[in-house]
């Protein structure tokens, strides 16, 4: 056969085909076996060109909305593109050189890193804890359903709701925290030292369940006999978790971390609604700063340079993610029960 099934059985989404589909598949297989005895037209393997034509529309659309803007971005980053009168001149990498002394750019990266790290630590910690608790719990189904709800919410709406909850004038969470003596009279978003935490909390509220679900899927795949062998070897539950469970769900954790990391780059909805980067730039993570530079200062050239650094890092992360995707461990299926 000239044409091979590429990456066959790698199995993304494979577990997803519904029972009905499987049934159908089996019937079709039966059919295939019978028919393949008739050698008639087996040689009419489709030409490669046919497949390329099928691919083309999607590729063209994607190229238009990605490659073209990308080169435009590169062009802008090398030119003096802003709102001033003398525009669009080649500027000897001034946009790039400026990044070297642009403290907000550097702070932006640093804050983005901090933000992501805080989100990760909280979400992974909580997510794993929840997953371990949920795994096999009597209420697993119900609880998972409850945890799905925040994820379905538009981040902007989530931001607004939390803005309402945090507000020092009428916010119930503010009241709760104050009453519990956790917070002073400043709202969590009104203090540069806590504003980032406020946003992290919202992000955690919305996305910890995703980590929980990912880890839960991982936990279902931890081979029971490995756990048991380790127990027999003399491990208690905690050791068992760290020695067997954790290494087994490690690819899942990695995927979760990478996905959330990239989402933190991608989505600034929460920040835009909650603080707009303030107060005192304490939540001005790089994408937010980029938003300012491009859409508020209209320094499009400078913005393009910043955007490219952001893109570069995202692509590296993406590459790592794809590696993990394709690692064999992540692809093992749940044990048949």
């Amino acid at each position: 056969m000239a044409v091979t099934t590429a990456g066959g059985g790698r199995g993304i989404g494979g577990g997803a085909s519904a029972a009905a589909g499987k049934q159908h598949l089996l019937e079709m297989r039966e059919g295939a076996r019978v028919i393949s005895h008739t050698p008639a037209r087996l040689n009419t393997a489709p030409s490669r060109a046919y497949y390329f034509y099928l691919m083309l529309p999607a590729i063209i659309v994607l190229a238009c909305i990605t490659l073209y803007p990308f080169f435009w971005l590169v062009w802008m980053s090398l030119h003096d593109v802003d709102v001033g009168a003398a525009a669009d001149k080649w500027n000897d990498f001034a946009n790039w050189i400026r990044l070297g002394r642009d403290r907000k750019f550097q702070d932006g990266w640093w804050l983005l890193l901090q933000y992501s790290a805080m989100c990760m630590v909280l979400q992974i910690g909580l997510g794993v804890l929840l997953a371990v608790i949920l795994n096999g719990s009597r209420h697993e189904k119900l609880l998972v359903t409850i945890f799905l709800m925040p994820m379905m919410m538009a981040p902007v709406v989530a931001g607004l709701v939390w803005y309402y909850l945090y507000n020092s004038t009428f916010g119930w969470y503010h009241w709760l925290m104050q009453s519990a003596g956790i917070l002073g009279e400043r709202s969590i978003l009104g203090d540069p030292s806590t504003a980032m935490l406020g946003i992290v909390i919202v992000d955690t509220w919305q996305w910890t369940p995703l980590i929980t679900l990912i880890v839960l899927a991982g936990l279902k795949r931890v081979p029971r006999d490995q756990l048991e062998a380790n127990m027999v070897d003399g491990a208690g539950e905690i050791r068992n978790f760290f020695q067997i469970t954790l290494p087994n769900i490690y690819p899942f954790l990695l995927i979760a971390i990478l996905l959330r990391f990239m989402d933190n780059f991608r989505f600034i909805d929460h920040i835009l609604v909650l603080t707009g980067g303030g107060p005192a730039d304490s939540t001005k993570i790089l994408p937010t700063y980029l938003f300012d530079v491009s859409f508020q200062f209209f320094k499009l050239g400078r913005g393009a340079a910043i955007a490219l650094t952001l893109l570069a890092v995202t692509i590296v992360l993406g590459l790592i993610l794809v590696r993990v995707f394709q690692s064999p461990t992540a692809q093992t299926r749940p044990e048949d029960s």
Binding site: P223, D225, Q226, E228, A229, N230, M231, V232, D233, G234, A235, G236, R239, Q243, I244, P247, N248
Partner: protein, 363 residues
């Protein structure tokens, strides 16, 4: 080292009773095999011993110590799993050393014990590999190595060689038996393969549907199955069964079938006469307890050859007696052909009669 006492143990999964009122006692240093088809409760029993399942009712004692509520790590046992359950992220050395490390043994001790175990199993050259780089047999050895390095008071084996190919399986049987003798450790070995059980165990506990059927030495199990089920399960090729009636023909009790009537022996007759209810029985006879000769005549049971299966060292003959079919094991030089008439001679000294209602053996 310790003896193991299983005392009126029950195991339920929800409403399903997996193990029903099991009583067993395994002596110190004994090789005990728990034999039964899948779903008979043998694995549940083993897992209860290991502490991987709760004991629903009853007690299990190692020596005098009741271990019902002890977690596995406190039971001082080692277990070999059906799927080996090696830790894929650890090397062979780490896999084997795991239990020692968990118990905080010193580096030197670990090194020495791992060395000893791997030498015994001849896997010293594999120490740096990860499990996915090993063949099935090698994995098996590592799994066993992981168990023996512990020097536990009890070994638990859960169908450890079921996934190996036939030749390797035969080889491993021998090795395991030798190893157990050398270590002298009590071992409980679960299998569905009667050949494994018969060849390796000191005593066998046969289980069926959660109930212990028979507990005895391999020879006892083979020669004196307590009931029809055990008789049918143990032995390869399996025992022939035929429904018969016990009739008194001229003062001698006969097992009567439309196609034949065979008198019982004297001692057997005494047993039957003591029994009140004995009219309807089931006769069981192993293929090697039937003699076969070609041709007609004589007082032997007349039969017709349906099929012959030469197995090299032996020959299996399917013979029809009326509506019944008998499997006979004979010498390879047997000359019968399909369709030939033949005569079967039952070794009544070794056959069995079972109560048709209860399945219990008269003898």
């Amino acid at each position: 080292m310790a003896s193991v006492t299983i005392d009126h143990v029950w195991k339920y999964y929800g409403k399903t009773e997996a193990v029903k009122d099991l009583n067993l006692k395994c002596a110190d240093g004994e090789f005990l095999s728990v034999l039964g088809p899948s779903g008979c409760g043998k694995s549940s029993t083993l897992r209860m011993l290991a502490g991987l399942e709760h004991i629903s009712a009853g007690d299990i004692r190692f020596g005098e110590r009741r271990i019902n509520d002890l977690p596995p790590k406190d039971r001082d046992i080692a277990m070999v799993f059906e799927n080996y359950a090696l830790y894929p992220h650890k090397t062979v050395r780490e896999n084997i050393a795991n239990s020692l490390m968990l118990r905080g043994a010193s580096r030197a001790t670990i090194e020495q014990k791992v060395k000893k175990a791997t030498e015994l199993l001849q896997i010293g050259h594999l120490l740096q590999r990860k499990p996915q780089e090993l063949s099935g047999g090698q994995k098996q050895r590592v799994a066993i190595g992981r168990a023996i390095v512990r020097e536990p008071q009890l070994f638990l084996f859960d169908e450890p060689i079921a996934h190996l190919d036939a030749k390797l399986r035969a080889h491993m049987r021998g090795e395991l038996k030798i190893m157990q003798r050398e270590l002298g450790t009590t071992m409980i070995y679960v299998t569905h393969d009667q050949l494994e059980a018969l060849s390796m165990a000191d005593r066998i506990a046969v289980m069926h549907e959660g109930v212990l059927q028979q507990f005895g030495t391999p020879q006892e199990i083979y020669d004196h199955p307590v009931n029809e089920w055990v008789a049918g399960f143990v032995g390869e090729p399996p025992m022939n069964f035929v429904d018969c009636l016990i009739e008194d023909r001229g003062g001698v009790l006969h097992a009567v079938h439309p196609s034949f009537a065979v008198p019982v022996t004297g001692s057997q007759e005494a047993i039957l006469r003591d029994s009140a209810h004995r009219a309807e029985v089931r006769m069981g006879i192993r293929p090697d307890q039937i003699g076969i000769v070609t041709g007609d005549g004589g007082d032997a049971v007349a039969a017709q050859i349906l099929l012959t299966e030469p197995l090299g060292g032996d020959m299996l003959v399917d013979a029809a007696v009326g509506q019944e079919k008998f499997l006979v094991k004979t010498k390879p030089d047997f000359q019968g052909r399909r369709g030939d008439a033949c005569r079967l001679a039952f070794d009544t000294g070794r056959w069995h009669l079972f109560d048709r209602d209860t399945g219990l053996a008269y003898f």
